[in-house]
Every structure is written in C-alpha cells, then in structure tokens.
C-alpha cells in the first residue's frame, strides 16, 4: 500500500455518516420493556378496535414462546428486549395537515433531502414520513384520492378502512412466522398502507421515509400494500438513523398482495447507520418482507440496495400462487468495516408457469461479512415453472468474507432452475488502469462497483438509481488499499 493510499484511507475513515445528526424534539415515550400492558397501551394510544388488540396480544403470547433465529451467519451480543422503548413519538398531537407539523421535524427531513412540503417535493412522488414510531406526514394525498388510491399511515387505515386492513394484515406474513414478525405484530406502531383499486395504475411513485431518532428505541413499522385486479404501483422506501454508540433494533414487516394481472414494484435504499469504523453502534435490521402473487399473471418485483445497518437480516420473498405469476429479486448488498449482512430471497413456485429471477450482487470490504441466502422452491403443481438465479460477489481487500448459500427444492420434473455464481476481487490492474486514465482511486472503485451492480441498479426508478450510485461510492470510501 502506498503512502498516499494510506493517507486517503485515514482521511476517509474519519468521515462522518452524513445522516447521523439527532433531532432535539419533545418526545412521548412509554416505559422501557415489553409486557401485555405495553401492548395494550400502544393499542389504546392508537384508538384501535378490539380485534386488533386481540391480534397483538396473541402475537405477544407467541413471541414469548419463541427464540431468536440462529441459522444466519451473523453474530451480536444478546439483545435485552426489556431495555428497549417500544413506543416513541413526537409529543405534539398528530398533525392534520402539513402546516401543523412541528417545524423541527420539517427541518429534519429537509436535512435528509426529503422535502415534505408538497410544492418542494419531487414532482410525482408522494411521501409518507415515519419518525420513530409514528407517521408524521403524508404528501399528495388528495391527488391520490382522486385516482382512488389510498396512501396513508397504517394507524389511520386501521380507523378508516378497517375491513381492508383486517382482511389482509398478517395474511402474507403470519404473526408467528418468526421471532421478529411476532415481535413486530405485537408492538408495531406505524408504517404505510397502500391500496390500489381494480384497474388503477397509481399516478405517481409512492415513497416512505423511515427515520429512527430516539435513543434505545426499537422501530417496528408495518407496511401493507394491496394491488387489486389489473392495478399497478411503484413504491420506494428509504431509511436513515442518527449515529449512536449503542445498537438500535429495527424489526419491520412488509406484506404485499397482488391480485390478477396486478403489478407491485417495491424498491428499497437502506442506509441505516452502519456503526463506526470499529464496529461500534449501528442498526440491527431484522426485517421480514414477503409478497403474495395471488392472482394469475400478477407480478411482484423487489429491488434493494442495502448499504447501511450493522447487521442486515432480510429476505424479501415472493409466493407465486397465481398461474403465470412472476417474482423478481434484484439486490445489491454492501458491507464495509465490521458490518454483517445475511440477505437473499425465497421464491415459492405454486402456480403453473410461474417464473422468478434472482440477481444478487454482494460487495464486501473491510472486515465485513456478506452472505447471500436464497431458496427456490418448486411445488408439485408448478408445472413449467422457471427460475434463473445469479449471485455475484465482489471482494475488496483480503479481510472480508463473501458467502453464497443457495437452496433449491424442486418437486416438479418440468421445472427449469438455473443457478450461476461468481466471486471476484477488484484487481490492482483494474484500479491502475482507471487511475492511469485520470480517475482518483475512490472514483475508480466507485466506477468498478457500479459496473458490477449495473444489472440491479437499472431496475431502480431514475432518481433512486442516482442516489444509490452515490451511496455505493460513499459506503465504500476508505475501503481500498
């Protein structure tokens, strides 16, 4: 390693996580720890109907009997679930319009580059902003309402569209699916609800912005998206958190339902605080995302760019139930320093002629560990099912790890399953080639990494793709040498 490389690394390693500031705002928090009473308090706070309280309590009971999963390639000290706050919200009453939103909060989102004032908002993107446990603002609701689209905080949907929520909530991810879904079902406080009625193409991109601010607070959001027959929607989600020395827990559940001929495209740019260069602090991101292609020829497409979090444990999946339905998973997962990612997907082929595509790009740098874990399951009735999987790993430096764990269960002889995997390193000659053409070392890494991820990045909506490219470069700063 040359002197200059070392200097660059030192300089960049000390660079701050750009979104690491905290917002000083009066918060309302429930006492620490989890009990049936806390669950009741959350439910009462939200003015929820009896059925939902019962649902939550059942989840809590289930959770008590469960154990944290241990099969993933991740390691962390035990989480003390009694030392967490399960509900934190800005103390002021929930705003009815944007004019009533606390100016401190608006400033926070402006600093994050997410303007909540509609006039300043990105043209054509409606935003729901979730701050710790509650939704603080949803933009463009009137425009969407005219098209018949419901886009609201899920707590509000529970009050205003209880029949829809009751019908679909937990129908894709059962309460007791795993330890974290049970926990989430018991204590979820907010999240987004999207309903696209029959035949409607959602007139704009929908976007939710998640922000963890409060200390020692878990964020347990719940997202539910339903696209009726022939409907389509593109939904984006972004996440950041302040820099804190202790680890923070994020255990979300996302459920998607696509009926006949419906299409849901779900894109995530996850940039939770990853911890510092020594592995201190950062978010534990334990998330369950699953989509059900219930109708024939329906399609669910997951695209994720995962650069943040100390630990990522996440497998956005598709249940391909309807004949001819299509599932896609495009993923870029970057780990640097001491980050750990164990991520992938499950494609469950049930209907005839269902098809799925999995493209996973893992990039490991520093002393990080990056695992792709995926399941392709072809059920006996899934005649003519097809899957194509490609998993590529890129290593930067020699202290990181890349692991690929594909599971294939094929119970139908007519199905076609293809799997390709590669592992490569950024070669010294690639870097030198770029530098001899005038690119700095950091720009060269950015270019090579973006090239490596191109097949995934092109699936992102335009504005997100640009953001993601920059994020990749920033996440890997200081990784060369």
């Amino acid at each position: 390693m040359s002197m200059t490389t070392e200097a660059t690394i030192n300089e960049l390693a000390t660079q701050k996580y750009k979104y690491g500031f905290t917002t000083d705002i009066e918060m309302e928090e429930f006492p620490k720890g989890l009990s049936a009473d806390i669950v009741r308090l959350i439910s009462a706070k939200k003015g929820e109907p009896e059925w939902l309280l019962e649902w939550r309590l059942k989840a809590y009971e289930a959770w008590l009997k469960m154990e944290e999963p241990e099969w993933a390639r991740i390691h962390h000290p035990p989480i003390d679930y009694d030392d967490l706050y399960y509900y934190a919200a800005p103390a002021k009453a929930q705003p009815k319009s944007l004019d009533e939103v606390d100016p401190e909060l608006l400033k926070t989102y402006e600093k994050l580059g997410i303007p909540l004032h509609e006039r300043a908002a990105l043209a054509g993107v409606a935003v729901d902003a979730v701050f710790d446990s509650v939704s603080v603002a949803t933009t463009f609701r009137d425009t969407l309402a005219k098209a018949g689209v419901i886009f609201s905080p899920i707590s509000e949907a529970v009050r205003e569209h209880p029949e829809l929520v009751q019908k679909y909530l937990g129908s894709v991810v059962p309460v007791g699916d795993n330890y974290f879904t049970a926990l989430n079902s018991a204590v979820f406080s907010d999240g987004s609800f999207v309903f696209i009625p029959k035949g409607v193409r959602c007139p704009m991109e929908l976007s939710t912005y998640f922000r963890i601010n409060a200390r020692n607070t878990g964020q347990f959001e719940r997202t539910l998206i339903i696209a009726e027959e022939g409907a389509s929607v593109s939904y984006l989600e972004g996440c950041t958190a302040p820099m804190r020395d202790e680890n923070q827990l994020h255990a979300a559940v996302v459920e998607l339902v696509a009926l006949d001929e419906a299409m849901i495209k779900y894109s995530t740019v996850q940039n939770w605080y990853p911890g510092d260069a020594d592995g201190k602090g950062g978010i534990y991101n334990f998330v369950t995302k699953r989509g059900a292609c219930r109708g024939k020829n329906s399609k669910i497409s997951w695209t994720q760019v995962e650069t943040g979090s100390a630990i990522t444990w996440k497998y956005p999946s598709c249940i391909l139930q309807g004949d001819g339905s299509v599932g896609e998973f495009y993923s870029v997962a970057v780990t640097n320093h001491f980050q750990q990612a164990d991520t992938g997907t499950k494609m469950i082929h049930i209907g005839k002629n269902t098809s799925s595509t999995i493209i996973s790009k893992g990039i490991s740098a520093g002393r990080s560990n990056n695992t792709y874990r995926g399941l392709v399951k072809i059920m006996p009735g899934a005649s003519g099912a097809r899957n194509f999987t490609q998993c590529d790993s890129l290593l930067i430096g020699d202290q990181c790890g890349a692991h690929t764990v594909p599971y294939i269960e094929n119970r139908n002889a007519s199905a076609k399953v293809e799997h390709e995997a590669t592992t490569s390193k950024i070669a010294e000659d690639q870097l030198f080639y770029c530098r001899s053409r005038g690119l700095s070392e950091e720009d060269a890494v950015g270019l090579i990494v973006n090239g490596f991820c191109k097949d995934v990045l092109k699936e992102l909506p335009m504005e997100f793709a640009v953001e993601a490219q920059k994020l990749l470069a920033v996440s890997l700063e200081g990784s060369v040498g």
Partner: protein, 247 residues
C-alpha cells in the same frame, strides 16, 4: 519534453532499471527496442506510476516537473498516457461512460469545464469514425469480450479522446495482425504535432515501418546501450540484440 535522468528502479530486491537516461523533445517520437527482460515494460510502468516499483535513484521531468512524485491520475492530468500491453477489462462499465468519466476527471484537474453528454458523444463519435471503428464500440463494456485487436484499438480511441502530450505505447503491437498494426500507427500519426510526443516500446521493427520514429534507443540490461536514427531499427532487425549488453 520528457527528460529521464539516471533512472534506477527495482521490484522487490531485483534492480531492473540501472540508470536510464533519455530525452524526448516535444513533437518527437522515440522508439525503445530491446530483448525480453531488458526493462522495457518496467520503464513504462515506472513512468506512469504503477504500484510495486520502487524508484531508487534519478528523476523523470515532464515539462520540468518530476512526474515520479505524482499519483498516476495526476500524471494523466499532466498529459501522460500509457497504452497498455494488456488492456484491462471492466465488467459492467460502458466504454462511453468510462471515456467521459476519464476525460472529465482530467479536465476538472486542469481547471477546465466538464463536457456534457451531448458534447462528449459528438467528440467520441468523430474519434470512432476516424479510427474506422463501429459505433457500437462506445456501448460495449470496457474491453469485455474484445478481441486482441479490438482492445488495442480501444487504447487508441482513448488516446484520441484524452489527447495526451506524451504517449507511451507498451508493446501495443504485440499479437496484432497487419491491419490492426496500421490502425495503431494511424492513431499515433494523427496526433503527431509539435505538442505531442511518444515513446513507442516494441520488440519488433515492423511497427516502425508505420510509425517512423525520430530516434531509436536500445534498452538492454536496464540501460540505454545504443541510440540512433530510424535506420537503427532495421539494423537491429538484421543483426539481433546479441552482444548489445556488452556494448
């Protein structure tokens, strides 16, 4: 003007260059010939700043500045260009994107305005045409799946667009058929003017039929052992390199 003075360089414990002295005035093309293992590629890598080569003595002044103390990207901004013997593949990186990123990085370092996509494409298309290349060259990923000849042509395309003041061609002719050889020569010859000079490293004389050098130097045993006019190349072709190290 490039002035190499008493340049010594080593890889690990092995001293490869043992006092190279050489001057290339502006506007001139000099050829370096020599047997395998003489240090020809080492000289090109030391001049362009590849890691792993330690300069133990001497300097290389490019327009008065010692380039040996500069990062490779700063040497590129100063106007140095190395055409690689084995051009490197960059999967997923489009040729046009790579070229534009390079050109703009260099322009930025020089305090010049960056070119937007439209202006760049115009420039790139003209260069592609001049080098008798297909336009889809710009859309392909950098050197991925290119034939040997295409890779070398791509180096010439980069050179045409980056317009260096000094080009080092490191055995660019190796493995090329006669048509590709002519294209490489054409690439160099079109840039020939008083602000451009080149160091053409080659093992064989045949490239010099198409790029006629102002001077020919023989590098053997880590030193320049002989210099002369273009006709020296023909002489070497006839007599071989044997006995030169002792000279």
């Amino acid at each position: 003007m490039l002035e190499i003075k008493n340049l010594h360089a080593r890889i690990g414990d092995a001293e490869i260059l043992k006092g190279v002295t050489l001057t290339i005035p502006n506007g001139e093309i000099h050829a370096i010939m020599g047997p395998n293992g003489a240090g020809k590629s080492t000289l090109s890598y030391v001049l362009s700043g590849r890691e792993g080569y330690e300069v133990t003595e001497g300097e290389a002044l490019f327009n008065g500045e010692n380039i040996l103390e500069m990062e490779p990207e700063d040497r590129a901004a100063a106007g140095l260009f190395l055409a690689f013997q084995y051009p490197v593949e960059l999967p997923g990186v489009g040729n046009a994107n790579f070229l534009r990123t390079s050109l703009n990085a260099i322009r930025r370092k020089r305090g010049e305005d960056e070119l937007d996509a439209v202006a760049f494409l115009k420039l790139a298309r003209a260069a592609v045409k001049q080098l008798a290349m297909k336009e889809d060259f710009l859309k392909r990923n950098v050197n991925v799946g290119f034939s040997g000849g295409e890779k070398k042509r791509n180096e010439m395309l980069q050179m045409a667009i980056l317009k260096p003041h000094l080009a080092i061609l490191d055995e660019t002719d190796s493995g090329l058929d006669i048509d590709a050889l002519k294209i490489v020569a054409e690439g160099v010859n079109t840039l020939r003017d008083e602000t451009f000079s080149a160091l053409v490293i080659t093992h064989y004389q045949r490239l010099l039929d198409y790029i006629v050098p102002d001077m020919v130097h023989v590098l053997a045993g880590g030193k320049i052992v002989r210099s002369g006019p273009a006709s020296l190349a023909l002489e070497l072709e006839a007599s071989g390199y044997a006995g030169l190290e002792a000279a």
